[in-house]
Structures are given as structure tokens and as C-alpha cells.
Amino acid sequence: MNLTFKIYRFNPESGQPPHYQDFTVDVKKGETVLDVLGEIKAHQDGTLVYRRSCRSGICGSCAMQINGLNKLACETQALELQTATVVVDPLPGFKPIRDLAVDLEPFYEKLRSILPYLINPDPPETDKERYQSPEDFAKIEISISCILCASCTSSCPSFWADKSYAGPAALVKAFRYSYDTRDAGLRERLDMLDNKHGLWRCHTIMNCNDACPKKIFPTEGISFLKRKVVENKY
């Protein structure tokens, strides 16, 4: 079936402002938006730029805005979008580098800022593993599947408004470590996050939950952390 792909184009070197370019592609059942982009790059316009690697929804490279929502291009069946024109934009809220590739450095900076690693001053009791019950593992099980695709943070209107806001992805990571029974860094992280650019910028707008390809529901973790701060303080 012939679909039109309306793709955001931008090259800072060209001096041209960003614009949309239309491509018509014959899409077959089973083909993903990433497949289509590949086809366009191979046979229509080699200059089209986008990121991709695993093409199986695990590396997080190909997050972009498809028909107005953040998605992984490699997981999105083109025909299932059920629109004759598919609009493809870069992730909103980040500086576009070129075409569909955006500058993710601010995203990683936020991740680094929340101490994204196990904090535990006590050495393990044995030289074997620290114990953790399956129930305790289950508490963090959803959050460990985050692939850092940035879909959530990029979909968050609070992040659009305040670029210093930590954003859902970093907060999910803070949750993931803080609620790991082997971690002792909760207080340290909460101190970081109880701040004008931290937890309180989340107004439960919920875009992040829809955007997350791993169905992590970042707002759940954020709510946990908010309550924890309040609990500790008052």
C-alpha cells in the first residue's frame, strides 16, 4: 500500500529552516516505520538522517515522534498507524542536530545527576551474592527494563517548559536504585530530587506513560519518590 511519509528535515549547514519533505513508499504488511526510513534512505534520499541500531526495540536509538506521539520507529508497524500520511518528527524538547537526530546530552546529564548506581557503604556480607527475595526483585522489575530511549522525558510538557527538570527517565532510574533492597542511597537521592527542578516539576500530565515503549509507567515511580520525600520530612 502506498503511504506518504511527511518527514521533518533539517540540516544546520544548509542555512534552510526546518521543513517537511514528503516521500511516497509502497509499504507491505510487517514493515515498520524504521524499515520505511531505511527504504527511503537506500533508494530515495541518502541524506536522510536518523538513529537506529538493534531494530528490535531494545537499544532505544530510534525513538521519534510518529503521528504526534513518541514511539520507537522499529516497533511501529507502518500499516497499523492507519493513516495515509504518516508524520515523522524528531523527539520534541531536545535540540535537533539534523533531521530526526536530536542532541541527547541534556538527557544523559540528567541521568548522571541522580546518582544512577548502587550506593551501599557496607561491603557485602559474603563474597557471594547479596540476598534479595523474589518479591523485592519484583518491586523494581518493571523499572529495570528502561532502555533510556528518552521518549518519556521528551513527551513531558513540564520538561518542555523547564529544561532543567530531571524528567521521568532520570526519576525512574532514581526509583530503580532507591527501591532496590541492596541500596542505601535513598536519602542522598531524595536530597537531590527535592528541588525546584526535581520531583515537584512533575504535574502528573501522564504523557510519559503513553510514550514509554517498555510500559514502565514512570509516574508510578515518581509518585513513590514524592511520597517518600514528604514522609521523611513531615
Binding site: 540540516n11 537506500a42 537499544c59 533531521d99 548506581y117 522489575e141 529495570i144 532502555i147 532496590d180 541492596r182
Partner: protein, 585 residues
């Protein structure tokens, strides 16, 4: 040109690269270069697990693990390396756990372990519970844990830097030249120690489980620097990849009772493995599927049927298993089949075909991760490697499931330690001007390429023909045909056109460079395969169907001569505890 000086430069940020960085960064200034963001590395795709004889659920011990690894390798694996792998694996797992890796747990709270193909107790007696895992995204949690530890230690990452040239002179490695993908410039990374951790090359094949980034760059860079590659002819195929894109459908599907059906709806495995049926070992099953396809019994798409073209896939059918059960035990199968084949597994069969999965061969290294440049095991000063790009050789002719995440992490760690040990004794060497010039000329060539050949088409042609002529089954005639095709493609590769002249994130140039790598090392795979006149592990020759230890119990080393010809040499296999026997399961 910008010159960076870092004592240690690591190419690749997968399990091997990040694990090594953590060790080396304890004593030295380390930079990790990766052409994609570290957390995007393909290690994150590993689902099944990471092998270690912890014995959390049975009476496992490292000797069993070593034996299985050696036997799995069809006795081509070096046994000193396999012994180290089996012995150190538990420590590596515990260390990962202490760093925070979230493993699935047993009811008592220990790390849970599951069965995996080829891993047994008591030298083949019964299946062992040896694979440590985290749901079905083990590689993902390992990679992210290591990446986050690197953040903690302040390891310096250069993300989206593609290494394009390795600087080796007088058998001393002096650094690399990298291309800053975002800004387009070349930069010299001068280093006392350079380590490759650049991963696998599945992209030489059309149907592969591997990521787009897995183009075997490191292998070709070494080859061009006059260094050898080892055992490149051994390419592992996984039996069940989703049709047309090769994405892995886990062995678990067959574990839950999936049927493999040909176009007549026949469970053809009864002709290949009457008792085990669909649960036969990976290589056997892959060969069975390939035989069905080759002999015209593959399933056909409607278009193929209409045009009378023989089909090139078989069906993996789960429709007889209850949906509730499938959702409970194989949730990911639903997503994968839906997202990548547009199929509902509870109702329709998923089209599948064997898929290129893992490279057993690679950059020759000793058990300490030092690069070896000849059959006498002479190390190259300042050059190291680990992970899938390296060949220690633990996996020999065939890798066991769950052994490669362990190999990458464990040998990444060992190599990092070796580097930490060596760095104080290594000196800063000059970077020869001709290397920088060569790299510049190379890049300019791509920017100026105005020919008529299309990069994507050449790549597709290589991938398609590698699949057919150098895939699961091989024979001299097809391999020679393939060598001819590669030569032809190399010629056409000199006439490519690159439309994009921009400095900024020029992924067209990037893909063109990667095509160059693919074409170069694929030639080594094919030549190694032509020469090796036996069937061993993943290398199945229809014209030489048996293993020949008298002649071929040895590693292949391949060099590229200055005139571009590939020269082969051989190196003995290290055998310590286990004498080669026939491999039966």
C-alpha cells in the same frame, strides 16, 4: 587535527568495553569511544542469560562448565581459556551482583539459574541450571549496570565517535583515528594502550539477530593494519529468527511446544531428530530448516505462491498452545511477533528462518587479552581486545548459549586488568604523519565518491549471497562463487556514489565506510571456509561432512597482504584436560 591524549583508549562500550574500562580506570586515564551511545550497544539484546557454575540450584561445578564449553566448541576451543572462563565466571557474576545488577532470584533470595542448550552436569549426564538471568533481558541489565558504574567512576565516553583507523607501526600500537559523527571531523586519539571491544559482525548476513551497528569494524581495522584474524569461518546461526529480519524468537518457544512446519504443514523435524523433534540442538535444527528450504519445502508468502517462487521460510506454530499459558510464560513472544512480523502468535504461525547470530572468530588474543600477531603467540605492544570481536578462543567452532555475555564480561575484566598492569610500563609513542594522512585521504574519498553504485544495494547483495553461499551449509563450489561475488562487489564498491556532502551527522558516509568493512572481512570468512575442508561446529561442509582432527584441529589465522591478497596461516589448539571426542548429545 585535534589530538587527544588518553593513556588508554577502548573502542566499544558493550559488556567487554565497559567492564574493561572499570578496571583500567582504577589506575589510568581511560577514554571509551563508541559509534553509538554506550547503552545502545548490542550487548543489551542478549535475552537468555549468563553462564556460571554457581550451583545455586544444583550440584554444578566449574569443571562441568569447562567440559561443556570445550565439547560445544567441537574441541577447537583453547582449553586454557575455557578453564579460566569456567573458573572465574562465578566471581564475575557475584561482582556484577555487588555492582547492583538486578538478577532474578530463587525463593531463598539467591541468584536464580535456568537451563540452557548444551550446559550439563557431570560431563553430559543431565541438563544443568547454570544460566543466571534477569527475566528475558539479561544483557540489557548487565550493560546498563556496567554503564552506570562507569558513570560512577567518571569514565570518559566519546559517544558517536566512529574509529576509522588503527595506528600500528613497528609492532607498537600508538592510538586510533576516530571520526566525530556529529561534527564530521577526524580526531587522533593517541594512547599507550588501545583495546578493541567492538563487537560482532552479523550484518554481513541478510538475516541476522545483530544490530545495524554490528558491522565488524574492529576486525577490518586490524586487518588493514596488517594484523591477523582468527577462525573467521565459524559463524553461528540460530534456528529461529523472524522471517525477513532475523530478530530472535527465543528457544523458549519450542520449549513451550511450538511446532516447526514446512509448506505441507508437516512437522519435518521427525525426519531429522525423531525423538527430540523440535527440541534438537541449535545447529542441527538450523540445518534441518535450511534443508527444507533448500529442497523446496519452504513455506511461501502469497506473492511467492502467485509467482511460483519456492518459499524461503518455515512456520513456527504456537496456535495449539493456550493463549493464557503463552501470555504467562512467553510475554515477549507476543510483542516480538506482533511488532516485527505483524502476527498474533496465539492464532497464526510465525514465519521464521535461521539467522546469523554470533561470530566465534575474531581478533586473536591470549588469555590476558593481549593481541597476538602470529602463530607463535607474539603480542603486539599496546594492543588488546575482548568480547565478541576477539577470539581467545573460548568458543572454538561453536559457542554455547549464555557463554558469550560471560566471555565478554570476564575477558573484558581480565583485559582491563592486564592494561592496568601494563600501562605504567608503556610509553607515549609518536603518531606517524602518514597514518593521519591515510585516514584523511580515506574520508575524503567517501566525501568525493560520485560514482553510480548504490551502497545499500551492494550491501544487500553481499548479505543475500553470504546467506546462500556461505551460510549454514557450505561447499567448495558455492564458496568460490561467493569469493567471486565479493571480488566483484569490492570492485563496484570503488564506484559508489555518496550524495550527502554534509559534515553534520553524515550517516550516508558512515554506511559507506561500514560497507567497506563488511566486504573486506567477508572475504576472510569465505577464504577460511574454502580452505577448511572438514565439518566442525558451525562450519558444515556438504562436500566434507565429517570432522577431521588429523588435519584440521588448528586455528586459522588470516592476514591481508599489502597487495590486498589474503594469506592464511595456522596455529595449534591448546588442549589440557579433555581430549577430542566425537560430539554427541
Amino acid at each position: 587535527m585535534m589530538v587527544h591524549n588518553h593513556e588508554v583508549v577502548i573502542i566499544g562500550a558493550g559488556l567487554a568495553g565497559t567492564r574493561a574500562a572499570l578496571e583500567a580506570a582504577k589506575v589510568a586515564d581511560v577514554a571509551v569511544l563508541s559509534k553509538i551511545f554506550p547503552s545502545r550497544s548490542h550487548s543489551g539484546a542478549a535475552q537468555g542469560g549468563m553462564a556460571a557454575a554457581l550451583g545455586n540450584l544444583d550440584d554444578d561445578n566449574w569443571e562441568y562448565h569447562m567440559f561443556d564449553t570445550v565439547k560445544g566448541s567441537d574441541y577447537l576451543g583453547d582449553q586454557d581459556a575455557a578453564e579460566i572462563l569456567a573458573k572465574e565466571a562465578p566471581e564475575v557474576i557475584y561482582e556484577m551482583e555487588h555492582m547492583g545488577a538486578p538478577f532474578s532470584r530463587t525463593p531463598e533470595g539467591k541468584i536464580a539459574q535456568r537451563k540452557f542448550g548444551g550446559h550439563t552436569l557431570n560431563f553430559g549426564e543431565k541438563p544443568a541450571l547454570r544460566a543466571c538471568y534477569s527475566a528475558d533481558y539479561t544483557g540489557h541489565i548487565l550493560l546498563h549496570t556496567l554503564f552506570e558504574q562507569c558513570i560512577k567512576q567518571g569514565v570518559r565516553f566519546y559517544s558517536e565517535y566512529q574509529v576509522v583507523h588503527l595506528i600500528v607501526k613497528d609492532d607498537i600500537c600508538r592510538g586510533v583515528v576516530a571520526w566525530d559523527i556529529r561534527n564530521g571531523g577526524l580526531q587522533v586519539f593517541r594512547a599507550k594502550a588501545v583495546m578493541f571491544a567492538s563487537g560482532g559482525y552479523g550484518r554481513a548476513y541478510r538475516i541476522t539477530t545483530n544490530a545495524h551497528a554490528n558491522t565488524g569494524d574492529g576486525l577490518d581495522l586490524a586487518l588493514r593494519a596488517g594484523l591477523p584474524l582468527e577462525d573467521m569461518e565459524f559463524v553461528q546461526f540460530h534456528p529461529t529468527g523472524i522471517y525477513r529480519n532475523g530478530i530472535l524468537m527465543t528457544e523458549g518457544a519450542r520449549g513451550e511446544g511450538a511446532y516447526l512446519l514446512n509448506k505441507d504443514g508437516e512437522r519435518f523435524m521427525k525426519r531429522y531428530a525423531p525423538t527430540l523433534m523440535e527440541l534438537a540442538p541449535r545447529d542441527l535444527t538450523a540445518r534441518a530448516i535450511q534443508t527444507e528450504i533448500n529442497e523446496g519445502r519452504g513455506c511461501q508468502t502469497p506473492e511467492q505462491k502467485a509467482q511460483g517462487i519456492p518459499g524461503d521460510f518455515v512456520d513456527l506454530d504456537l496456535s495449539h498452545v493456550s493463549e493464557a499459558k503463552l501470555r504467562a510464560v512467553l510475554p515477549q513472544i507476543f510483542d516480538l511477533a506482533r511488532n516485527f512480523a505483524g502476527v498474533n502468535v496465539a492464532k497464526e504461525p510465525t514465519p521464521i528462518q535461521p539467522t546469523a547470530h554470533y561470530s566465534m572468530g575474531g581478533l586473536p588474543v591470549n588469555v590476558d587479552g593481549q593481541f597476538i600477531r602470529d602463530a607463535k603467540n607474539t603480542p603486539v605492544r599496546g594492543l588488546y581486545a575482548a568480547g565478541e570481536c576477539a577470539c581467545v578462543s573460548v568458543h572454538g567452532a561453536n559457542r554455547l548459549g549464555c557463554n558469550s555475555t560471560q566471555d565478554a564480561t570476564l575477558n573484558g575484566r581480565r583485559t582491563g586488568r592486564t592494561i592496568a598492569r601494563d600501562v605504567p610500563h608503556l610509553s607515549w609513542e609518536d603518531v606517524p604523519a602518514e597514518d593521519v594522512k591515510a585516514a584523511e585521504k580515506d574520508l575524503d574519498w567517501y566525501y568525493q565518491a560520485n560514482g553510480s553504485e548504490n551502497v545499500a544495494d551492494l550491501r544487500t547483495r553481499l548479505q543475500d549471497t553470504m546467506m546462500v553461499n556461505c551460510g549454514i551449509y557450505r561447499n567448495e563450489k558455492d564458496l568460490k562463487t561467493q569469493l567471486g561475488i565479493i571480488k566483484e562487489l569490492q570492485g563496484r564498491g570503488k564506484k559508489i556514489g555518496v550524495k550527502d556532502k554534509s559534515k553534520c551527522f553524515n550517516s550516508e558516509v558512515m554506511e559507506a565506510m561500514e560497507l567497506g568493512h563488511l566486504l573486506n572481512f567477508s572475504e576472510v570468512i569465505v577464504i577460511g571456509a574454502i580452505e577448511r575442508q572438514e565439518s566442525r561446529g558451525a562450519h558444515a561442509r556438504t562436500d566434507f561432512p565429517t570432522r577431521d582432527d588429523a588435519k584440521w584441529l588448528k586455528h586459522t589465522l588470516a592476514y591481508q597482504e599489502p597487495d590486498g591478497r589474503i594469506r592464511l596461516d595456522y596455529k595449534p589448539v591448546t588442549i589440557t584436560r579433555f581430549q577430542p571426542k566425537e560430539r554427541k548429545y
